[in-house]
Each structure stands twice: as structure tokens, then as C-alpha cells.
């Protein structure tokens, strides 16, 4: 039994989750009042951002923070443990959610809130935040499912043949992935008798290494499916373009990043012994994802499907960091996840503006949008450059760290990964700049109506402002990356040397 009660300050770890879940419950009750729903959701996410900033500052100051509820000592009680990566990604997710809420309000103006959009967004945020902050693998499974149910709801909301078709593939494959995750959890529990992440670190070295490698490869498959890594990515391009752009943006910004973050945590932090055996596999998956995904983007004519392939390419970059487990490799992977949460969301939001401006989803029939809205073309170009990793923008810095890790690793594997990262940048740049040329630069095709949406009315300005704010944040973070570097490198040190993490959970000293 734990004698000392949890300190009041420690509640900051679960405060974002409590806020998100409670507000979602209230929003379900307030479904009749759409305006109230929007304001309440915005206030709640604002409060979540504030509490996560407080959490991040506290973690920066004094190392990982942990809290175990119910006065049960950790390995038994469920721990919530925040290190720099977890707290930072949770903050990025909440920031992106605010932007998406504002953008969605403009898109949904005139519609009532009866479909529960705001409640589902908050539930999705709760699932994502919980996955980033939990310190227990079974708890991670539960948050995955919270996230999955909320994203199912967002995906099928409103119906329509294409959305149902996409949702079937999304639903079945993601449910299969979580079943495989649960399967590996069962095996891990049988081997070690514990599912607390810090406790697994203690117990793993004495377990049968072959069996642990089997569990680690099952985890790789399950999280790889969630993250849409190359051979198991079919569900992403099949489904992400079917809902409205704002929902695509939310899903693309949050879901695959949670999967790849869980992979990073599981393979690098929790089971480092098995990771050594799996490194050739990880490197091959990373290289294949990095090279093949942007080729898909080049071959695609549907704008948002093309962006889906760019999202998958970004997952390859994070996998490259997991396959190169040096300080700069893990820091690069972490910084890339942060960058991808912001950039992929912004790409879909801007794609939504483009689709609205041209009345078209097919990039072959777009054109001439430059004349209607030159600033929009700049937003799109900035995002293409950021996604490809061209210097002044955010995407460059994580890629620099990854390249440094690849060159530092030396040998065949490091060289191939460096080559794949460069090829990925070039191919992404080709795909993105060609989309840009087709959408903005080329003259409008004959059959194309001149300007289907009045660019410049109030609704347009609100959405424009939301997307512009996010792009501005990406540009600013690229110009002043010092804070990001500091967080990424300290976070990577904590992942690679988890002594502080274990001490925070309270297993080493006995008192939390």
C-alpha cells in the first residue's frame, strides 16, 4: 500500500484527459445547441493546451513525471507517465485540434451539431493524449480503442458510398491491428508477468530472448499497421480522402503518429534487446516506405489521395530514426513526429481550401487557382517544401538529425538509409511541386467553371486564417528551431537511457 497521497501538482498529467473526456460527455448532452458546442469545445481544448504547456515545462525542468492512481504501487496500479516526447506530442495534438475546430466551424456553418462532431473530436483528442501519456501497455491498448471508435464515428459521419467504402477498409484493418497488439500483450504478460512500461524494462533482460524477439516483431507488425508502414499501409490511401478535408486533416495529423510513436517507445525504450535483432527488418521497412510512398503520390491524380502517400512517406522517416537508435537518430524521429503532426494536418486543410476553390478533387481538372488566390498558392508551396524537408521550414531539422545519425552509423545500413531519406525528399518535392504547378500555375482547363466559390467572404477568411496560422507556426518553428532541438535531444536521451523514467514511476526507490 502506498502511504503518501498523490501530490496535487501531479494531477496535471491526467488533467488533459479528464478535461477531454468530461467535455465530450457534456457535448453529447448539448447536441441540440451547435454554437454552444463549438464554444465549449474550443474552451476545453484551450484549457488542455494550457495544462499541457504546464506539464511540458515541468518535465523540462525536473525530468519525467509519473502518477499512479488509486494508491496502488506501480507495477500493479495503472501509471500515467509523461516524458518530454509524450508531453510534447500531446501538446502538438491539442494545438492542431484547436486549428481544426476553428476551420471546421467555418465549413459546418449553418449545420446543427446533432451529429456529435465536437464530442467525437474531443474523444479522439482524449484517445491520442492518453496514448502519448500512458505508462502502461494495456492502458495504451484501451486508449488506442478510444481513438479508434472516435475516428470511426468521424469517418462515417454523414454517410455516402465512398465514405462507407473507405470506412470498411479502415475499420477492419485497424481492428485487426489492435487485435494483434492485444495478442502480443498477452504473450508479453505471460513472459514477464507485468505490463507497466517501466517494470517491463526491469524484467525484460531475464526473459527468454527468442520469445521476446517474437513479441517485439508482433508489436512491430501491429504498430506498423497503425502507422501505415509500407507493406501494411493499404488502408490509408483507401480511406483518408473520403471524409471532408477537415476530418482527413485531423485523422492524418494524429492517428498514424500515435502508431509510430508507440513503435518508437516499444522497440527503442522498452525492448531494446529485441530491437537489435529486428534492426535489419526495421531498416528495410523504413527504406521501402521512404521510397515507395512518394512514388504513389506521383502516380495519383486525386489531390487528397496524393497527400495520403506523402503522409506514409513521413512515417518512413520516423522508422529510419527507429532503425538508427543513436542519440541523433531518436531525436530526429521525435522531431519528425512533431513536424508531421503539424505539417500533415496543414496539408489536408490547405487541400480542403483548394478543393473548395476549384470545386474539384481531381488534380487533372484543376488549374488557374493562382489568379484567384495567390496567397493560397504560397501556403501550399510552403507545405510542400516543409514536407520534403527543404531548409527554411520545420521539416528540414528532423531530416538533418536523421541524416547525421545515418552518416554516424556508417556501414551499409546507414548509407542506404541516408540514400533513401534523400530520395524521399527529392520524390516528395517532385510530387508536391507538380501538384502545385497543375493546381495553381497551369491555365484553367476549358470545362472548368471560372471561380465556383467567392474567394474572400467571411467563411472563406476564417478557414484561410486557421490554415494560415498553422502554416505560419510551421515556418516560425523552422526559423527558430532551438527549442525543438533542445526538447528532441533531451527526450531522446530519456528514451535511450530510461533510468530517469523508471525512477519517476517509482520502481527503483519504492516511493514515487
Amino acid at each position: 500500500m502506498q502511504a503518501t497521497p498523490v501530490l496535487p501538482g501531479d494531477w496535471v498529467i491526467v488533467l488533459p484527459l479528464v478535461l477531454a473526456l468530461m467535455t465530450a460527455a457534456v457535448l453529447v448532452m448539448l447536441r441540440e445547441a451547435a454554437r454552444v458546442g463549438f464554444v465549449l469545445a474550443l474552451l476545453a481544448v484551450g484549457a488542455i493546451v494550457a495544462s499541457e504547456v504546464a506539464l511540458l515545462l515541468r518535465v523540462l525542468e525536473s525530468g519525467p513525471v509519473s502518477m499512479t492512481m488509486g494508491n496502488w504501487l506501480p507495477p500493479f496500479g495503472i501509471s500515467f507517465t509523461a516524458d518530454l516526447f509524450g508531453a510534447g506530442f500531446a501538446l502538438a495534438a491539442a494545438l492542431v485540434t484547436i486549428i481544426v475546430l476553428v476551420y471546421a466551424e467555418a465549413e459546418r456553418s449553418g449545420r446543427d451539431g446533432k451529429d456529435g462532431f465536437h464530442a467525437l473530436v474531443l474523444l479522439l483528442l482524449a484517445g491520442v493524449t492518453g496514448s502519448f501519456l500512458t505508462g502502461d501497455l494495456f492502458n495504451l491498448y484501451v486508449w488506442f480503442e478510444v481513438m479508434l471508435i472516435a475516428s470511426f464515428g468521424l469517418m462515417v459521419m454523414g454517410g455516402g458510398a465512398a465514405r462507407l467504402d473507405g470506412a470498411v477498409k479502415y475499420g477492419f484493418l485497424n481492428f485487426l491491428a489492435t487485435s494483434l497488439f492485444l495478442l502480443s500483450l498477452g504473450l508479453l504478460y505471460g513472459l514477464l508477468g507485468t505490463l507497466n512500461m517501466a517494470d517491463i524494462l526491469r524484467a525484460a533482460p531475464s526473459a527468454n530472448p527468442a520469445a521476446m524477439t517474437g513479441v517485439a516483431s508482433l508489436l512491430l507488425l501491429a504498430f506498423g499497421m497503425k502507422a501505415a508502414a509500407f507493406p501494411v499501409n493499404a488502408w490509408l490511401p483507401a480511406s483518408y480522402h473520403t471524409p471532408p478535408a477537415v476530418i482527413s486533416a485531423l485523422l492524418a495529423g494524429l492517428l498514424t503518429k500515435v502508431g509510430v510513436y508507440a513503435l518508437l517507445r516499444a522497440l527503442v525504450a522498452i525492448l531494446p534487446g529485441s530491437r537489435d535483432v529486428l534492426e535489419p527488418v526495421l531498416a528495410s521497412i523504413a527504406i521501402a516506405t521512404l521510397v515507395i510512398a512518394p512514388l504513389g503520390a506521383i502516380a495519383e491524380t486525386n489531390l487528397r489521395r496524393a497527400i495520403g502517400f506523402v503522409v506514409i512517406g513521413g512515417i518512413g522517416a520516423v522508422l529510419a530514426g527507429i532503425a538508427l537508435p543513436s542519440q541523433s537518430g531518436v531525436a530526429g524521429a521525435g522531431a519528425y513526429i512533431f513536424h508531421a503532426i503539424l505539417t500533415m494536418t496543414a496539408l489536408y486543410l490547405v487541400a480542403g481550401l483548394v478543393e473548395r476553390g476549384t470545386g474539384q478533387m481531381d488534380s487533372r481538372r484543376m488549374g488557374g487557382l493562382y489568379a484567384a488566390s495567390a496567397p493560397l498558392s504560397i501556403l501550399f508551396l510552403v507545405l510542400v517544401l516543409a514536407a520534403a524537408g527543404v531548409p527554411p521550414f520545420l521539416g528540414f531539422w528532423p531530416k538533418l538529425l536523421l541524416l547525421e545519425a545515418g552518416l554516424g552509423a556508417g556501414g551499409w545500413r546507414g548509407g542506404l538509409l541516408v540514400g533513401a531519406l534523400v530520395v524521399n525528399a527529392v520524390l516528395t518535392l517532385i510530387a508536391g511541386s507538380r501538384l502545385w504547378a497543375h493546381i495553381f500555375w497551369r491555365a484553367a482547363p476549358g470545362a472548368f467553371p471560372e471561380n465556383p466559390v467567392a474567394v474572400g467572404n467571411g467563411e472563406w477568411r476564417l478557414r484561410y486564417g486557421a490554415a494560415g496560422l498553422l502554416v505560419g507556426a510551421i515556418a516560425a518553428a523552422g526559423l527558430w528551431p532551438n527549442f525543438l532541438f533542445e526538447v528532441a535531444i533531451t527526450g531522446a536521451a530519456d528514451i535511450l537511457n530510461p533510468a530517469r523514467y523508471v525512477a519517476a514511476v517509482g520502481l527503483a526507490g519504492g516511493t514515487p
Binding site: 487485435s179 492485444l182 495478442l183 491524380t301
Partner: protein, 125 residues
């Protein structure tokens, strides 16, 4: 006893994978359910099978009197069953709606989101 249950888990997983490989949505759904039950049984077996009493503390005592069964796998499975059942219900409704809207239970015919006759990529710049 463990070996019998372990073999049963193997049968469940094999059957689940077999059903998932079919083209019909309903068969795939049944495959997911069988697979999920196999996984639940696996967690149960992983917690060691014993013939001990239920983990309940008698009145007036601080901890159970004799040896007890491991309660943790039961708690884990209870959670997993609830979640798995909610997922199953959702996917069942989704499959029904897809059948109504797309008039297809066969996944080969579900090509609305990814059209069969996809156009060539643009060849110009």
C-alpha cells in the same frame, strides 16, 4: 490443461485468419470475432491456469486466507471483451450500411473509394 487451452488458442487464431482471408464482409467479421476470442483465451492462459479459489477477501481479513487465482488476466479480458464487442457491433452496422448503400458484401466489388479504372497520372508538368 495449459497445453489443451494453448492448442485451442491456436485453432481459434488459425480459424480467424482463414475467415479473414475470405471476400465476404460477414465472414471477415466472424473471423475477427474468433480471432479476438482466441486472443482473450491466450491472455487467460498467460496468467497461469490454477484450481485455486476466487480472489475475494473474506470479511474481517486484510488479505485472502489461502492461495487464490490470478485476478489480473480476468480484469484484462473483461476490458478486452467489452471493447471487442463494441467494435464488433460497430463493424456489423457498418457492414450492413455498406451492403445497403454499395449493394456489395463482396470486397471485390467495393471499389468506390479506389476506382478500378484509375486514370493515368498526369504526364505533363
Amino acid at each position: 490443461m495449459d497445453f489443451v487451452i494453448a492448442a485451442l488458442v491456436g485453432c481459434f487464431v488459425a480459424l480467424g485468419v482463414y475467415l479473414l482471408l475470405s471476400r465476404s464482409l460477414i465472414r471477415m467479421l466472424l473471423g475477427l470475432v474468433v480471432l479476438g476470442n482466441g486472443v482473450n483465451l491466450l491472455i487467460f492462459t498467460a496468467g497461469r491456469l490454477t484450481r485455486e479459489a476466487a480472489p475475494i477477501v473474506p470479511a474481517g481479513l486484510e488479505h485472502p486466507a489461502g492461495p487464490i487465482a490470478n485476478p489480473l488476466p480476468q480484469a484484462l479480458i473483461l476490458t478486452a471483451i467489452v471493447i471487442g464487442f463494441s467494435m464488433f457491433s460497430f463493424l456489423l452496422v457498418l457492414a450492413y450500411r455498406a451492403y445497403q448503400t454499395l449493394d456489395a458484401d463482396n470486397t471485390d466489388n467495393m471499389r468506390v473509394a479506389e476506382p478500378d479504372d484509375a486514370p493515368n497520372p498526369p504526364l505533363s508538368y
